[in-house]
């Protein structure tokens, strides 16, 4: 048996410990904000936080989260008011929106370690997150906006 704390709530896991967190979160816990895009840690749609750091949940087995804290997009803020979530809405960042949970979780991890990232910092942190609709420019400006740098779109 494995204990994982998901969005602040300790949960007992009894299934295959090799099951990727992605499928545990989605299929067993009903936390559907974390998305499946590639299954190979190539696209970032499934990005969550493990003890506050962005990881790809599709390549992170539940066993790796034992006694650790998992945060999903649903748990990023109490009322959808994380500065990034606000900036995302103000900039109308999304198109289809599918990758955006992962983008926001990745960006939140970046801002936690680099509160005032420059373009190169953002490129380096975000290059693992694919957006097929092509919202990168708006993502970048929303990250800057959330970091308090203005950030024109």
């Amino acid at each position: 048996m494995i204990t994982v704390t998901v969005n602040g709530r300790p949960i007992q896991f009894h299934d295959d410990p090799e099951m990727p967190l992605l499928w545990y979160l989605r299929d067993e816990l009903g936390l559907l904000g974390t998305k499946f895009g590639c299954g190979k840690a190539l696209c970032g749609a499934c990005t969550i936080h493990l003890d506050g750091t962005a990881v790809r949940s599709c390549q992170t087995p539940v066993s790796a989260a034992a006694n650790r804290h998992v945060t999903t997009i649903e748990g990023l803020s109490a009322a959808g008011d994380h500065p990034l979530q606000i900036a995302w809405r103000e900039s109308n960042v999304p198109q289809c929106g599918y990758c955006q949970s992962g983008q926001i979780m990745q960006a939140a991890s970046l801002l936690a370690t680099t509160p005032h990232p420059n373009d190169a910092d953002i490129d380096a942190a975000m290059a693992g997150n694919i957006c097929r609709c092509g919202t990168y420019g708006r993502i970048k400006s929303a990250i800057k906006k959330a970091a308090g740098q203005g950030g024109a779109s």
């Binding site: 299934d15 295959d16 099951m19 990727p20 499928w23 545990y24 989605r26 299929d27 067993e28 009903g30 936390l31 559907l32 904000g33 974390t34 998305k35 499946f36 895009g37 590639c38 299954g39 190979k40 190539l42 696209c43 749609a45 999903t72 997009i73 649903e74 990023l76 959808g80 979530q85 995302w88 809405r89 109308n92 999304p94 198109q95 289809c96 929106g97 599918y98 990758c99 955006q100 949970s101 926001i104 953002i122 490129d123 380096a124 975000m126 290059a127 693992g128 997150n129 694919i130 957006c131 097929r132 609709c133 092509g134 919202t135 990168y136 420019g137 708006r138 993502i139 970048k140």
Partner: protein, 756 residues
């Protein structure tokens, strides 16, 4: 593109044009001999009934149904916003609801062809106006005052003489019980009084849900007791399962059942490829179970499909005379007399749409009724295929349209919905969610065609083009739906070949034979991608040969401002629009080219290694030009500094979403030009995830994208937005690379030739 529309149009071609009045926007009974255009030419037509699209609640909440699929183009914001504006509703009190698949009720729902706004702007205005008038009538009746004394404003109705006001909520019941006014009695708002339409300030309907992870896509559909399934499909199109070892699969904890699905013979249309399905308690068990299957396949007639050999075959065909599809003047004579002659072949490989959400659907069956949730662009087509596959009447299938995590044409083909239906049936009707992995998406797609465009031109002593030959060789989408026509259809040629505005006296357009060996399908802007790439690249090559400025030369080749009737170009397709209303206006094409060039500072002195490239293209009855500034470093590295996109789509209903579509098109165009390729060997796709099928990531994205919206008034017919941004991008990029480095790219992707 709608297949139904295409075949019906072909059937009726040549039987005379109808005189449909676009402004009416409603299906009008007419003789069978007449061709219908616009929304009326689509299955289901347009519906403008306020009682279908609007529901008023006593608390004042206004529900507006969006009947088109949301896949990132913003339709769940833009269409309901039109209704809200016309009915004087407060957007903050509007709830957008997604219509289920039902074209008999909502009108056409096939969300492709960049048609949603241009076909439904007027009907949605009419819905809103009708409901506004019903609310006003209800208020006047309640107050017992003349109708002329009341007016709707700001989510209520005001009695002007007395200053009394009733909220829409208080009028909900009475207004909803009134008959909608006759279309002729409708009074539409003066565009000058629009509150949301044409403004640049609309928040996204789903913005909050997206930013908090609360959105639900097809892959998120959930029912209690639901099973999860993936399918192992034949690796080659037209292949069959001959045997499968299931013992190891069935030992995987969580696997419930293995089911064989019969395939669909070529051409497989919108129906499943067949294979072996693994149904499990969760997604992980399904995937692991599938990995443990040992299937044996008979690969069938496409087993020899090899992209390297096929390209050589296309090039051979392109080098020989083809079938003439249109001719102007005498190309051979003009070529013979030309001072300079140029020849070039342009190649674009197969591409995959690769929406971030792979195809997925949830189906369950109970008491002969089927209920489905799916991310589909063509809800009605999905519903009908599902009904047929499960042997029930269409009316017994309820299909809920979820959000689409990207579509780009892939989700116009609902094969995955049918798969889910067959699996639910195999489980006795239990709910089954079928999803595709990324590997499934890239190995078993409906791929963009593969093409060689052969261009020849003769220039006179001043470098002006006097002769032009375009031979287009590509397998047709129609091969996915019927006997392989072995060459492009008129509809495909109408995407930038025969309807190209060229001010050249002698032109010949030809096609060459090309057989389809995969499911060829629509990909955002479709055949415009190869056609615009070749034509706009070749114009760039001619400008260089003539030692002329590329922008000036492009404008000269477009020629002076004039209106061209698509019919005079042998183009019966014209994106389904009436040629009498939608003529090609070269002044507008010139203007977008000039605007994009100005935005990029065309003509300025550029830093070392930088170059500007330009391309302009008409598609989906919209005009778009792109100018791209690139840097090619001494190491051969390509850096895209800026993209300037100029678009003239007529009136701009939601400018903010037009801008976002152009930004996205610039990105997707660069992605396919620099990285995009699906290749085949032994009939099997060689790419299976984002490591081998690469797409542009943030670090290689343009440093800046600037979108220039050309002003369009409401007297101009509406153009498309979702697709027309794509076609000019690849050529603008390769023209810029040429300007920067002298290197001419004629085959995509660029990654094979430069560092991207």
């Amino acid at each position: 593109m709608s297949l139904t529309n295409v075949s019906r149009r072909h059937l009726l071609a040549g039987l005379g044009a109808g005189s449909f009045v676009l402004a009416a926007g409603l299906p009008i009974a007419r003789g069978a001999e007449e061709i219908k255009y616009g929304a009326a030419g689509m299955p289901g037509g347009a519906v403008a009934n306020p009682l279908i699209f609007i529901a008023l609640a006593p608390d004042g909440e206004v529900s507006i149904f969006c009947h088109r699929s949301e896949m990132g183009q913003g339709v769940r914001t833009s269409l309901p916003m039109v209704v809200a504006d016309e009915m004087e509703a407060d957007w903050r009190r509007v709830r957008v609801r997604q219509a289920p698949a039902d074209e008999s009720r909502f009108g056409n729902q096939n969300t492709d062809g960049s048609r949603s706004m241009r076909h439904f702007f007027e009907p949605m205005r009419q819905c809103g106006a009708a409901m506004r008038m019903m609310l006003e009538s209800a208020a006047a009746a309640q107050w017992k005052v003349p109708l002329t004394e009341v007016a709707a404003a700001d989510h209520g109705v005001l009695h002007r003489p007395s200053g009394r006001r009733l909220d829409f909520g208080g009028l909900a019941r009475a207004a909803s019980a009134l008959p909608p006014p006759a279309p002729a009695a409708l009074v539409l708002k003066n565009p000058r009084t629009f509150r949301y339409i044409g403004k640049d300030t609309m928040p996204l309907t789903d913005g909050l849900a997206i930013s908090t992870g609360a959105t639900r896509y097809g892959i998120d559909a959930t029912l209690p007791g639901m099973h999860f399934a993936v399918i192992a499909r034949p690796p080659v199109y037209g292949g069959k399962l001959t045997h499968v070892e299931t013992a190891a699969c069935l030992k995987v904890p969580g696997v419930l059942k293995v089911v064989t699905i019969p395939g669909t013979p070529v051409p497989s249309e919108f129906l499943p490829l067949g294979g072996v399905a693994v149904i499990a308690r969760n997604s992980w068990a399904a995937i692991k179970g599938r990995d443990a299957l040992v299937p044996t396949w008979e690969h069938g007639p496409n087993a020899g499909y090899d992209s390297i050999a096929y390209r050589a075959e296309l090039e051979r065909t392109a080098g020989q005379s083809g079938e003439i599809v249109r001719n102007l003047g005498d190309v051979d004579k003009a070529m013979a007399g030309a001072a300079q002659r140029l020849v070039a072949d342009y190649y674009i490989p197969h591409l995959a749409q690769a929406p971030m959400e792979p195809p997925a659907a949830l189906v369950h069956i109970k008491d002969g009724k089927v209920e489905a949730w799916a991310c589909v662009q063509a809800p009605q087509a999905a519903r009908e295929r599902l009904a047929t596959a499960l042997g029930v009447a269409v009316k017994d299938v309820t299909l809920h349209v979820t959000l689409l995590g990207g579509g780009f044409g892939r989700k116009s083909k609902p094969d995955y919905v049918v798969e889910a239906g067959l699996l639910s049936k195999a489980m006795g009707g239990a709910p089954v969610k079928l999803f595709w992995t990324r590997e499934d998406d890239l190995r078993h797609g409906y791929y963009h065609t593969v093409s060689v465009e052969h261009l020849e031109a003769g220039l006179d002593g001043q470098g002006r083009p006097v002769a032009w030959l375009h031979r287009s060789v590509a397998p047709s989408i129609n091969a996915t739906f019927g006997p392989d026509p072995m060459r492009e259809s008129p509809d495909e040629l109408g995407m930038g070949v025969t309807n190209q505005a060229l001010d050249i006296a002698n032109i010949r357009w030809e096609t060459g034979e090309a057989a389809a060996h995969v499911r060829v399908g629509w990909f955002r802007s479709v055949s415009n991608i190869p056609h615009a790439f070749a034509i706009q690249s070749f114009i760039g090559e001619l400008a260089a040969a003539a030692k002329r400025d590329a922008k000036d030369y492009l404008l000269e080749v477009i020629g002076p401002p004039r209106l061209i009737n698509p019919k005079d170009q042998n183009d019966e397709a014209n994106y389904g629009e009436d040629p009498a209303i939608y003529s090609i206006d070269t002044a507008r094409l010139r203007r977008v080219a000039e605007t994009a060039a100005k935005g990029a500072g065309w003509g300025r002195t550029l830093p070392k290694g930088h170059g500007l490239g330009i391309a302009a293209h008409y598609s989906f009855v919209t005009y778009v030009a792109a100018v791209i500034e690139v840097e090619v470093t001494e190491r051969g590295e390509v850096i895209v500094h800026k993209v300037d996109m100029a678009v003239d789509c007529g009136p701009q209903i939601n400018p903010e979403r037009i801008r976002s579509q152009m930004e996205g098109a610039a990105l997707m165009g660069i992605s396919l030009a620099t990285l995009g390729e699906i290749s085949f060997k032994g009939g099997q796709a060689q790419q299976d995830n984002f490591d081998t099928y690469q797409v542009t990531r943030m670090d290689a994205a343009p440093r800046a994208i600037e979108v220039h919206l050309l002003p369009g008034d409401f007297a101009t017919p509406l153009g498309g937005v979702g697709e027309p941004g794509m076609p000019p991008v690849a050529a603008a990029l390769t023209n810029a690379i040429f300007a920067a480095s002298g290197k001419r790219i004629r085959a995509l992707p660029i990654k094979d030739q430069l560092r991207v």
